[in-house]
């Protein structure tokens, strides 16, 4: 790659670089704006809540002047826009408040539970990509014939099934009846605490420590929820792959490849697939981010101690600081994944370089 850019005339390289930086700046600015908008929404949600935060702290029997003082300390008597600025400042400093439920700073809580979600979602997206992309390709190649219909139905069912229900059914069948997989949680009780936590992701931690029993047990536990999440991303990925492929297969360069005598397999898996790689990155990024959403319900079903379960527990306890903190983090991950996919896009597509 460096060889190629060196080959380009230096002046061209210069203008290209500045253009790239400028468009990157625009992208960052728009992402920052989006994030500010996210904060605006969470801020407003925090204000429409019927619980009076000051009252919640002092209790309803406190004298009026105590109540007033607490209100002042919380900044509740300031105008709304000022409160918003204070709020943004706090969030930027990583101060999401303290969770009522755990009594710890929300950020600390999130840092603790996030690796579990990351591990689950990453495995899920891997499954989704490994199965979804080939399925989409096959569907496009056999357009309107039975493989296409089959992939279509598999995808539509994925769009139609409640993920928490499928999780329950999965537990019933594969855990309770067949005993093929581990039950809820990340590990069985007697494997806990053996591998020291380095990354927070048990599969990796166990591999680092060389604790293969723990690794196997963790795999046993994660495979069902990850397969579920994988199925849901597969539904989206296979469908998008199919339509992207259909578009490419009608292109003239495909005919060129056939004219050269390139085998049909190579036409499809090299010529056409290379061309959808770029938009596919965006598709995968989007579905990776939406796995966070799926994880809220999945983690609840599988008692998976990740961000999703943290969020639902906080919800049920009306722990607003934790709810909003987790929401912001999810939004941030969304924005970050978008940025990442855009950067990858520039890296992979020769036309964007």
């Amino acid at each position: 790659m460096t060889e190629r850019s060196l080959a380009a005339p230096p002046r061209l390289l210069g203008t290209r670089l500045t253009r790239r930086i400028r468009s990157l700046g625009g992208l960052l600015a728009s992402l920052a704006l989006t994030f500010l908008g996210l904060l605006c929404i969470t801020f407003l949600i925090g204000r429409i809540i019927p619980i009076d935060p000051a009252l919640a702290i002092v209790g309803d029997r406190a004298p009026a002047h105590v109540y007033e003082r607490v209100r002042e300390e919380l900044g509740l008597n300031l105008p709304l826009w000022q409160q918003f600025f204070i709020y943004v400042g706090q969030v930027l400093r990583g101060d999401f408040g303290t969770s009522v439920l755990t009594g710890r700073p929300v950020l600390e809580d999130i840092a603790r539970v996030f690796p579990a979600t990351l591990e689950l979602a990453t495995l899920g997206i891997l499954i989704g990509v490994i199965f979804g992309v080939p399925m989409g390709v096959v569907a496009a190649v056999h357009r309107d014939r039975w493989p296409d219909q089959l992939v279509r139905v598999i995808g539509l069912v994925g769009y139609s099934v409640p993920i928490f229900w499928l999780g329950l059914v999965g537990l019933l069948v594969f855990y309770a009846k067949l005993g093929w997989v581990g039950g809820s949680g990340r590990l069985d009780f007697f494997h806990e605490g053996i591998a020291p936590s380095v990354t927070g992701m048990i599969l990796i931690d166990a591999a680092i420590a060389g604790e293969w029993d723990v690794f196997r047990n963790a795999l046993h536990h994660i495979v069902l929820p990850a397969a579920l999440l994988g199925y849901f991303s597969l539904a989206y990925i296979s469908r998008m792959t199919r339509s992207l492929m259909l578009e490419q297969l009608n292109q003239e360069y495909i005919t060129t490849a056939r004219v050269k005598g390139v085998s049909e397999a190579r036409v499809i898996w090299v010529h056409a697939l290379r061309n959808i790689l770029v938009p596919l990155i965006t598709v995968v990024a989007l579905s990776y981010a939406s796995l966070l959403e799926g994880s809220v319900l999945t983690e609840t079903v599988f008692a998976w101690p990740g961000l999703g379960r943290y969020l639902t527990n906080a919800l049920l306890a009306a722990d607003m600081a934790a709810v909003l903190g987790a929401t912001i983090v999810v939004g941030l991950v969304f924005v970050g994944v978008n940025l990442l996919s855009d950067l990858l896009y520039r890296l992979v597509d020769p036309r964007a370089r």
Partner: protein, 306 residues
């Protein structure tokens, strides 16, 4: 014999290459679309499933064998059988009757969400697309912000603030649903805005909002309807998810998601309590997805006639 002749006459009239009136042309077009749609067996299945949902919801009190909320603790957790086709739940209530009445809740939720969200999306999208410039920039930035949140999580945050309950769930889902429709309506408006006939209307001196309301919105409707249909399953699933978490419809309402949630405790020994409401959700959202998919194929000119 004469009947087949007359239907042949009708078809000829509908498919005439030289329609005598706009009505004939439009009916002919509709007839062709319906024909193409009919050939899509999956889409017809979807349509049938949704009709079934509507009928069941409409006639719930008459077709359900028991009262949905009447408890009978002596008959709790009965497996599916002759008396209770789909068994009974932990309070001895007939699951079939609860599913039938739950259809009403589902229909109530999707209808209300669509009634709230679709007009907002349509308005925002057409206005943004028609005016362009900074109006477009501001409105689209706003929709992007909403789209930047995973839908369920935003809905959860709203419900957490508003308090649990079916109406708050509807509001929360509607708040998360409109941006997608706005996007579709905007894209459609952008192509329409430059068309000659809009220019002609503008020359006649029609005001911007009149043009949007009378000319652009009706033409955006088909795409928005397809998008909404495809979205229905998502709405149902989000509502069910909220119900499952205890944030949607409250007991004893026979909401399907909430029914799964209570059945969860009996999953291992009485599988039907949690499983059957889930099947109902699957069928209904599959119906909407199949229908939406068929409609999309129909609207997509690249696939038309193929």
């Amino acid at each position: 014999m004469s009947e087949t002749l007359s239907t042949a006459g009708w078809r000829a009239w509908l498919l005439s290459e030289r329609p005598q009136s706009a009505l004939q042309a439009r009916l002919g077009q509709a007839w062709l679309s319906w024909n193409a749609f009919q050939r899509n067996r999956l889409a017809m299945l979807g349509l049938a499933l949704i009709l079934l949902l509507v009928l069941v919801a409409a006639f719930a009190p008459w077709i359900s064998p028991y009262e949905p909320n009447v408890q009978n603790l002596r008959l709790r957790l009965q497996p599916p059988g002759a008396a209770h086709w789909l068994g009974t739940d932990e309070l001895g209530r007939d699951i079939l009757s609860r599913i039938i009445h739950g259809a009403r809740i589902t229909l109530y939720i999707v209808t209300l969400v669509v009634v709230i969200a679709a007009p907002i999306g349509l308005l925002v999208g057409t206005v943004a697309g028609y005016f362009g410039g900074w109006v477009d920039a501001v409105l689209m930035r706003l929709t992007d912000i909403f789209l930047a949140f995973p839908r369920l999580i935003l809905a959860l945050a709203f419900v957490a603030a508003l308090g649990p309950g079916i109406d708050n769930a509807v509001i929360a889902i509607a708040i998360t649903a409109w941006p997608a429709y706005a996007r579709v309506a905007r894209a459609e408006t952008l192509t329409l805005r430059r068309s000659d006939f809009i220019a002609a209307v503008r020359i006649q001196g029609a005001g911007a909002f009149r043009i949007i309301g009378r000319h652009i919105m009706p033409l955006c409707l088909p795409s928005v309807i397809v998008r909404v249909t495809l979205d229905m399953a998502g709405i149902i699933l989000t509502a069910a998810g909220l119900g499952f978490l205890g944030l949607g419809a409250q007991p004893p309402a026979p909401e399907w998601g909430a029914m799964i949630s209570t059945g969860r405790a009996y999953l291992l020994d009485q599988w039907w309590v949690a499983t059957i409401p889930g099947l109902a959700i699957c069928l209904v959202s599959l119906g909407f997805n199949l229908l939406g998919d068929g409609l999309r194929d129909l609207l997509d000119p690249k696939r038309r006639g193929g």
